[in-house]
Symmetry: none
Subunit: 203 residues, 4 copies
C-alpha cells in the first residue's frame, strides 16, 4: 500500500519535472541559452523560482541535460527511420523525412540543437561534438552498407558533408513561416542530392 502512494507521488513529481523541462526547451529554443532566464522558464511552466531549484541543480546542468535528451530523441528518430528501410534511396528518403518532420512539428528541437546552444555554454562543446559525430555515423552506416552501389569514397567525409547540407536546408525551411508546405519538395530534392553525392548507381 505505502509503495503505491509513493508511486503516485513519484509519478506526479515526474510529471511536473517533465512539464518544466518541456517549458524550458521552448524557452531555450526561442531565446537562446543566455537570453533565457530562470524566471522565463518558471513562468512558462507556471511554478515558482524555488521549485526550479528543487528539480534541477542549476541552469547550465538543465540545459546540458536538455540538449542531450533532445539530441538522443532526434538521433533515435533518424536512426529508426533509416534502419526500417532496405535500400539506400529509401533509407535516405526516410531519414530525411523523419528529420524534416521533427523540424516542422517540433521546431524547438532543431532550434535547441542547431541554434540556441551553439557556442553558448563551454561545457556543452563536448556534447555537441558527440552529437555531430553520432549524426554522421547514422548517415555513414547506410553508405557503408551500400558499399558496392556507390562511388569509392571516404564515407565518413561524405556523411559529414551530407549532415551539414541537411541541417542547412532544414534551417532554411524554418526561417520561412510556411515551412510545412515546402517540406515535401525539400525532402525529395535533398534525397536526389544525396544520392548523386554518394554516386549511387543502383537501379
Amino acid at each position: 500500500m505505502p509503495y503505491r502512494s509513493s508511486d503516485k507521488t513519484r509519478q506526479k513529481k515526474d510529471a511536473k519535472r517533465t512539464a518544466m523541462m518541456q517549458a524550458a526547451v521552448r524557452v531555450f529554443a526561442e531565446k537562446g541559452y543566455h537570453a533565457a532566464t530562470i524566471r522565463d522558464i518558471v513562468a512558462a511552466a507556471g511554478v515558482a523560482i524555488g521549485t526550479f531549484y528543487f528539480y534541477f541543480p542549476d541552469k547550465e546542468t538543465l540545459f546540458v541535460h536538455l540538449y542531450e535528451e533532445t539530441a538522443d530523441f532526434l538521433l533515435q528518430a533518424i536512426r529508426q527511420a533509416i534502419s526500417s528501410r532496405a535500400t539506400l534511396p529509401q533509407q535516405i528518403a526516410a531519414g530525411l523525412q523523419a528529420y524534416v518532420n521533427i523540424a516542422v512539428f517540433e521546431p524547438a528541437v532543431i532550434q535547441l540543437l542547431l541554434v540556441g546552444g551553439v557556442g553558448a555554454v563551454p561545457s556543452l562543446t563536448v556534447k555537441q561534438h558527440e552529437f555531430r559525430e553520432k549524426l554522421v555515423q547514422i548517415w555513414q552506416r547506410p553508405l557503408q552498407n551500400a558499399d558496392t552501389l556507390i562511388a569509392p569514397q571516404n564515407t565518413q567525409r561524405t556523411a559529414e558533408a551530407l549532415v551539414g547540407g541537411f541541417d542547412e536546408v532544414v534551417l532554411g525551411l524554418l526561417r520561412h513561416p510556411e515551412a510545412g508546405s515546402q517540406a515535401g519538395t525539400a525532402v525529395q530534392e535533398l534525397t536526389r542530392f544525396a544520392l548523386r553525392a554518394v554516386g549511387y548507381t543502383g537501379s
Copy 2:
C-alpha cells in the same frame, strides 16, 4: 603648436582601432558573444575599459560590425577564388581551398561566423540570414553557368546543401588541432563530393 591632428595621430588612432577590433574578434570567437565581456576584450587589447567606449559605441554594435566585416571578407575571398577559374571543377576546388585556407589560418573568422554569433544577438539574425544567402548565391552561380554539364536540379537547393556540407566539414577540421594537415585531403574529397552532388558530367 596646436596638435597635429590629421597626420600621425590619425594613423595611430586607426591602427589602435584596428588592433582593438582584432582583439575583439579573437575574444568573441573564443568565448561567444555573451561570455565575452568588455573586460576580456580590453584586456586582450591591453587598454582600459574607457578606451573601448572611446572607439566603439557599445558591445553589440561592435559585434554586429565585426560580423559584417568578417562575413564580407570571407564572401569576397571565396567569390574571388571561384571567379578566377574557368571550369566548374576548378571553381569548386579553388573556392573550397580559399575557404579552408581561411579556416586554417584565421580560425577566428570561421568561429565568429559559424559559432560565436549564432543565436546571440537578435539584431544579428537578419545579418546572418543575409550572409547565408550570399554564400549560397556564390556557390549557385558556377552551377548555373555549368548548366549543361550538370544534372537538371534546383541549383539553389543544391547550393544550400553544399554550403552546409562545406561548413560542417570545415568545423570538423577546426575541432582537431592538426587542422592544417588534413586540409588538403579535405579539399580534394569535398571537391569530388560536390562534383558528384551536382551530377557533373564534364570529361
Copy 3:
C-alpha cells in the same frame, strides 16, 4: 504546506516596501536625485541592492512615484485644512499652519518637492508643473470665494505669488535648525502678509 501567500507574507512585504520608500525619501531629500545612489538607498533601508530592484523597477520610476505621492500628501493636507474653515483669514491661517507643520515635522517632504527634485529628471518636469498648478489652485479657491471681501485682482496671479512666497519662507525656516520655534510666528506673519496682499477688507 505550500507557503501562505496572501496572509502575513503579503503584509510583511508591503511593510518592507513602505520602509524602503521612506528610506528612499530621506536619501533623495538629503542628497538630491543624482547624488543619491541606489547603494545609499539600500544602505539606509538595510537591505541588499537586489532587494531594491525586487520592489521597484528602477531609480527614476521610484523617484517620480515618490514625488507624486509626496505631492499628493502635501496638497491634500493643505486642501483639507483650508476647506475645514469658513472665513478667509481662518482658511489662510489653517492652510499655512498645515504647510508649516509638515515642513517642521516632515522636512523631507518639503526638501523632496522643492529642492531634491528640481531640474533633476526630465520626466519629472511635467509632474512639477502639475504640482505647482494644483498648489496655486488650492490657494486660489478661497480667494475666489471671498470675492467681495478682497480687492479686485487677477486671483490666479495672486495665488501664484502667495504660493511662491510661502515656499520661500518655509524653506527659510528649514535652513535654521530651530525651525519649530519660529514656526508659529511665521504662520502669523505670513497670514497677515497674505491678507494684506489680497486686499482683504473683512472686519
Copy 4:
C-alpha cells in the same frame, strides 16, 4: 612693447575664457548641473576637452563660480533699478521690470539660479543661501525706507515672501513660450500685489 603683446594675449585669453563661460551657462541652464557634461560644454564653446581644464580647475568649481557671477549680475541689476527710483511704487515696479527683463532676455540666468543648480552641488548650498539673503535684503531696503507709508510689519519676512512670490511668477512666465508678451502685465500685477502686501498707503 613686450607688455603690449602680453596684453593682447591676455585679452585673447580672457575672451576665450569668457566665451567658454557663456557656453557653460547655456548648457548648465538647459540641462542642469548633473546632466550637463564637460563634453557638452566644450562642444558648445567649440574647443577641445583639454582646453576646458586649461581655463578651469574642474566642473564643480566652474559651476559655483558661474552661479556666483550670475547671482551678482542679477542682484546688481535689481539693486540698481530700485535705487534709481524715489518712491516705493516706482521702486517696486522698476525692480520687477529689471527682474522680468532678465528672465525674458536672458532666461538662462534665471534657469541657472532657480532651477539648474538647486540641490545639485553640496558646496553650492551656502552660496544659494547667500543669494537668497541678498535678494531679500535688496527688497527689504525700500520697505524700511518707506517705513511710515506701509503697515507695521516684519519687513524681513515680508521681503522674503515677496522674493518667493516674484520667483514663482517669473518661473511661470518662462514655462510658457510667449513669456515676453505676458511680461508687462505680470510686472503690473505683481507691483500691485506687492504694494497691497506691504500695506502701502501712499497717494
